[in-house]
Amino acid sequence: MVIQILALLLIVLGAFFFVAGTIGLLRFPDTLCRLHALTKADGLGLGLTCLGIALLAGSAGEVSRIVLIWFFVAVSSAVCGHLIARHVRRSARASTEGS
């Protein structure tokens, strides 16, 4: 029972960070700021949600699958953020050189 309440708290907190990241995505002025909000908040939201689900998992196999999912989603979202930021920087440089 205590574990379930703890899991619920973690998942709700995770959802809160996802919502915060989405608000940042919608309200921040440029791509880099939006990316900043999204990658930070979503990384935290993902970790908290995975932790909450892992507490509810029935077996060690399920926990290890959740850990794997967390690891690969976290790494790929970090790489995605890097690629988007790099693209922004390069196209900004290209447009200043062009003008």
Partner: protein, 313 residues
Amino acid sequence: MTDPLLIFDVILGLAIVALAVAVLAMHDRFAMIVLFIVFGLLSALAWVRLSAPDVALAEAAIGTGLTGALLLTTLHHIRATPPAPVPVPAGAIIANLGLCGLIFGGLVVAFLSTPLQAPGLALPVAQNMEASGVAHPVTAVLLNFRAYDTLMEVVVLLAAIVAVWMVERGTAQAPSPVMGEIYRGFARLALPAIVIIGTYLLWVGAYAPGGAFQGGAVLAAVGLLLLLSRLYRPQPAHRPLARLGFVLGTAVFAGIALLVASGGRVPFEYPAAHAKTLILLIEGMVTISIAVTLAALFHGREPEYASVSENHK
């Protein structure tokens, strides 16, 4: 007292329809593709809610992941070499409208003529599971009870790559995007995991959701990562191997059907003692073909000798 999941289902259904409308209403091609990918993800979620995890896996891996990648790479090619805008003749639009209307009408008729609350084919499938050689009903249907349809699906993929290699022969190659060192490191980290996940999806298909199409699509992601990170560059000398990969699934599938038929049985009526071995052999070969074909479709053009110098930096 309403089921809270019902509210979720209604919101999910409305979101899918809204996304479909948004995809068609968008004017920016890139935004269209991104929305299409989101549409596919939500559709996969809807299949999960309909208790069809096999379809959900296929939708997520093929319908969303690989189709999204194919659309994005096509957009990249179009941007690099903008084609002259060709006005669409009115006749073509009318013909397309007519064909779409025919398909829509056919679907409506099929839907309306299906008796409500009919038992369906679930019972015959359940009764014949022992003869199928596998423990997962979906795999039994796909690879045994209606294997002919599945063979045709594999042939469709083969036809697609043959068409792409013929159509794109001699067209200019768009420069592939440079993804950088961090992406390359990510590819090195992710590649072994994707290989294991793809093979696991193939193997688990015998008794749980998964199978050749899902596993093949995941393994095709290996090809995409290798191509994008330039850890592998297609060479003209690799063409025979690629061709072997394209036809392997169809050839083994059809070959086993003919072999079974030559023993005085109906094609795909596997002898019960060898059913599991044969199904696993077919699925394995089909998985390889699907993975190679989808990766080749992503690369697009057939590697040719004249363009070797272009491919190298």
